[in-house]
Homo-oligomer: 209 residues x 2
């Protein structure tokens, strides 16, 4: 199976080769894989920033416990969930559906209200967690797509998301940096690439009932 | 690209054909794709229940707003995050690493302490959200693997997770049903399979900096 072979190939890259850049064509492919991610109701309540700018990467590195992947990797993907104005985003989504189906948004009013009231029922903490979770689905597709293209990546939660929000001006946009992934090409010197992949055995991870 | 073709093929299946069952061989492949998922520190702080039992599926359907996918699908994957005893799970993980690397766990004591203290810093709500997020990475791999095998699936948050925890006896095991996915084969009558996939345009979803 392609996916399994690719997942076995990949690893959380600790040291990237700063001289190797991911091509624009491959970046477009990665974006398409992320774009096709599933999300709650299909809302995709997030935005993905792709950082190439050297100066900004240097700033972000300081907000990432100085981990070298941030500056050495070719591109840094920052998955940012929306933190507010959910009704506005739902209206935009309903508009997308209406256009695709060639109908008016009026015909989707009940559906729109169902989504809005379902989200409204969550408390602030529940909304935050729910919105952040959706970015993990997108991150996972990015990693699988990278592996298929033999591009290296390192999914990371180890960064100061408030500093990220400040550096990238996310607060003003109603966005929050939820999870990140530098992508690029591994350095030959990265010894972690030779380590055995550690995963729970099937018997511990699954139970059939 | 295989992944993109597969992601385009899949859709959130609303009506499964109850007569079609996923083979044991394919279930093992799906499990392997889930098992290879990335997770925070590699801890895989979750267990995946695979429900085949008709009676239990009937009970769970009642706790899922009576959605027919729960009983009509061949297998129901329930992704359950651990809710307690994180130190115990971290110790088990360290044991796995030590065995793979042929070293004693003493050599990994600092690493173990780093993970434990990093998780201990999160408050209760932060721990819950963090543990649940990891299951979304596993769910995403399940969906990609299903699509490669042309098995249908429906990722679902629409269920009463407290009822799930009760029916499946999860509370006693320190587990919580975070997200679910029935898998099987679409019914020819499922009209949603013909709908255009709705996703945000690249220009709205991404920003390169």
């Amino acid at each position: 199976m392609n996916l399994i072979d690719n997942l076995k190939w990949r690893y959380a890259t600790k040291k990237f080769d700063p001289s190797k850049k991911v091509s624009d064509k491959d970046i477009e492919t990665l974006k398409e894989a992320v774009r096709l991610s599933v999300s709650s109701y299909g809302l995709q309540l997030y935005k993905v920033l792709i950082i190439k700018n050297t100066e900004i990467k240097r700033e972000l590195k300081k907000a990432s416990w100085d981990q070298s992947q941030i500056t050495d990797a070719s591109h840094l993907f920052v998955f940012c969930n929306y933190t507010m104005n959910f009704d506005y985003h739902i209206d935009n989504y309903i508009q997308l559906i209406a256009e695709a189906q060639g109908i008016g948004t009026d015909a989707l009013r009940n559906y729109s209200e169902t989504i809005k009231s379902s989200i409204e029922k969550k408390d602030q903490i529940g909304k935050k967690s729910w919105a952040e979770k959706q970015t993990y689905l997108a991150l996972s597709n990015l990693l699988a797509a990278c592996a298929e293209l033999k591009i290296d990546a390192c999914p990371m939660e180890g960064f100061d998301n408030q500093s990220y929000n400040q550096i990238l001006g996310l607060d003003e946009l109603g966005l929050n940096a939820a999870v990140i992934a530098p992508v690029g090409y591994r350095s030959a010197e990265d010894s972690t690439q030779y380590r055995k992949k550690i995963r729970k055995p099937v018997s511990k991870l699954f139970q059939t009932i």
